[in-house]
């Protein structure tokens, strides 16, 4: 039999997927903006609910920022495969001759670029409002950027498992949030340790290791989950 | 050999009765309940299957009479 698709086309397919997804998401701008608004809103609730005292806020700010960013990422997961599932293009993706893990990896990359990265860039601003001590802003943004990539990958597994269900929303958070805990511990820990005058490098290294592990394993799990949800 | 002098001492557990007996009680309850549940599940399934097969049996014989 003749080989119809030469191997070199994988790069083309990945690039095409990224470009297509970027265009689609950017066309519906609310999908990018809503998680950011949610993030800011949740952070606004805490001083109102706890106390506006800067000292108290500074003490809990790393954890608050991380938990709020985590919830914002989690809420945006539902849209990751939903529209592709509804219009049938997810089925096309499964039928394509390219390896599915590579294609879902590019979709997850787009999710991170348009959700995790903006959240990480916005976090220092909100940190300012929570009186976060000065030396920790860079680590906050960097740990969130690194950690949210893992969050996107892990979350995509849950999103792929629940995309075929009509009411998957709450179930999705039940599946995904426990798996987020290691990232939360080391992400918030990195910011905390800088505030206490320590070295954040070990924490960031572990966050990086988690990302490597997620990069190695998650694409296969996402691909398998999508196959179940579509062919199921 | 025994750690307690009397049966009431065993029940009292040196003032820790509420803790020890509630932990043991819940464990025993869950184990016994799961065993009983497995048994009643089996009985229900068997009864349903038997009933269904008898009904089908009668239906088949009914058809044979008609023809």
């Amino acid at each position: 039999m003749q080989v119809i698709e030469p191997k070199a086309e994988l790069g083309v397919a990945v690039r095409a997927t990224i470009k297509r997804d970027m265009t689609l998401v950017l066309r519906r701008r609310s999908e990018v903006i809503n998680p950011l608004v949610f993030f800011a809103l949740v952070i606004t609730l805490f001083p109102l609910g706890i106390s506006p005292d800067p000292q108290m806020l500074a003490a809990i700010a790393p954890g608050l920022l991380w938990v709020a960013a985590l919830l914002a990422t989690q809420l945006s997961l539902d849209t990751l495969f939903r529209s592709d599932y509804d219009d049938g293009s997810l089925e096309q993706l499964l039928l394509s001759p390219q390896p599915l893990p590579a294609l879902v990896l590019s979709k997850t990359l787009v999710h991170w670029l348009l959700t995790g990265l903006p959240l990480a860039l916005m976090a220092p601003l909100l940190g300012l409002m929570l009186a976060l001590p000065g030396q920790s802003y860079a680590v906050l943004a960097f740990s969130l950027a690194l950690g949210s990539a893992s969050l996107s990958l892990i979350g995509a597994i849950g999103a792929a498992l629940t995309v075929g269900l009509s009411r998957g929303g709450v179930l999705l958070s039940l599946l995904v949030l426990p798996l987020y805990i290691p990232v939360l511990i080391f992400g918030a820990g990195a910011v905390q340790v800088v505030i206490l005058g320590g070295n954040a490098a070990p924490y960031l290294a572990i966050l990086g290791a988690q990302l490597c592990l997620a990069l190695m394993l998650a694409p296969w799990a996402i691909a398998a989950a999508l196959r179940i949800s579509i062919n199921g | 050999m025994m750690a307690f002098d009397s049966f009431s001492a065993l029940l009292a557990m040196d003032g820790h009765a509420a803790y020890v007996w509630s932990a043991w009680g819940l464990t025993a309850l869950l184990l016994i309940a799961s065993a009983l549940h497995a048994r009643s599940e089996r009985r229900h399934l068997m009864q349903n299957l038997k009933r269904r097969q008898r009904r089908e049996h009668h239906a088949d014989r009914g058809k044979a009479h008609e023809s």
Binding site: I157, L161, T162, G164, L165, G168, L171, L174, L175, L177, P178, L179, I181, P182, I185, F186, G189, Q210, L213, L217, A221, A224, A225, I228, S229, G232 | M1, M2, A3, F4, L10, M13, D14, G15, H16, Y19, V20, S22, A23, W24, L26, T27, L30, L31, S34, A35, A38, R39, E41, R42, L45, M46, L49, K50, R52, Q53, R54
Partner: protein, 249 residues
């Protein structure tokens, strides 16, 4: 070897072999649990630090061990089901999940109750209790995901994938929680870690652990047989079996 596994995977053969095995496991479980309970509750000496509250160890530790073993067993069954499409494996995974969740709850409850006389509060964010709590959420997620699918086969495969993802994550979660715990509350004394327990204390514990395992095996065998009856009720051998028991009364 392969022939054996595929034979084991046939529901009919499993039904026959488990009928012979299960009385032994039930009997062994009852015997071990009774001996272990009486020994642990009545004969084991009380602890010099914790007094009699330490007797909770005899239900806490076996439940905690079993809670973890059940998750691994569930994930292994999931892999067998996903790779070789052996239905028995999924039936086993279906019945293991609720029991594993129950054992996790027992471990959490007994840990909390033990915490009161030991630490003076019902709940401490101790590393073991915290990872146990997270594990309970993982169990609930697997059970909920299976139930959410309309088709049994898709639900089974989705639950298998999630169990597999969970089992990869459990060591990572444990490691992270331990790190976090040592950071936030250094050197609290943990419930079950103690220097060299004397024989008359750990022997009943060993018996209880074995008893819990036998109970788990027996319950899984019995409930897997029930699942076979439920899912294979249209098969000829099941119909003959039912007719047979019906005739005998």
């Amino acid at each position: 070897m392969w022939a054996f596994i595929h034979k084991l995977g046939s529901p009919k053969w499993f039904y026959a072999i488990s009928a012979r095995l299960q009385p032994w496991f039930w009997g062994l479980a009852i015997l071990l649990l009774l001996v272990g309970s009486v020994w642990g509750l009545v004969f084991a000496p009380s602890d010099y630090q914790q007094g009699n509250s330490f007797r909770i160890i005899y239900v806490h530790v076996p439940a905690a061990i079993l809670a973890q073993s059940c998750f691994v067993a569930m994930a292994v069954s999931g892999v067998i089901f996903l790779v070789w499409k052996i239905k028995i494996a999924d039936m086993a995974a279906t019945v293991i999940a609720p029991f594993g969740a129950a054992m996790t709850f027992v471990a959490l409850f007994s840990g909390a109750v033990w915490g009161m006389p030991t630490w003076g509060t019902w709940w401490v964010w101790d590393a073991r209790l915290t990872s146990m709590l997270i594990q309970l959420f993982l169990y609930l997620g697997v059970i909920a995901l299976r139930g959410a699918f309309a088709s049994r086969d898709s639900g089974a495969r989705a639950a298998s994938v999630l169990a597999l993802v969970g089992v990869v994550n459990i060591p990572i979660i444990k490691y992270s929680v331990n790190w976090w715990n040592t950071l936030h509350q250094p050197a609290t004394f943990t419930l079950t870690e103690r220097p060299a327990m004397p024989v008359e204390m750990w022997l009943p514990l060993l018996i209880m652990v074995l008893g819990f395992y036998c109970f788990f095996i027996a319950l899984t065998l019995t409930r897997t047989r029930n699942e076979i009856l439920r899912r294979e009720s249209a098969k000829r051998w099941v119909r003959e079996l039912v007719a047979d028991t019906d005739r005998r009364g």
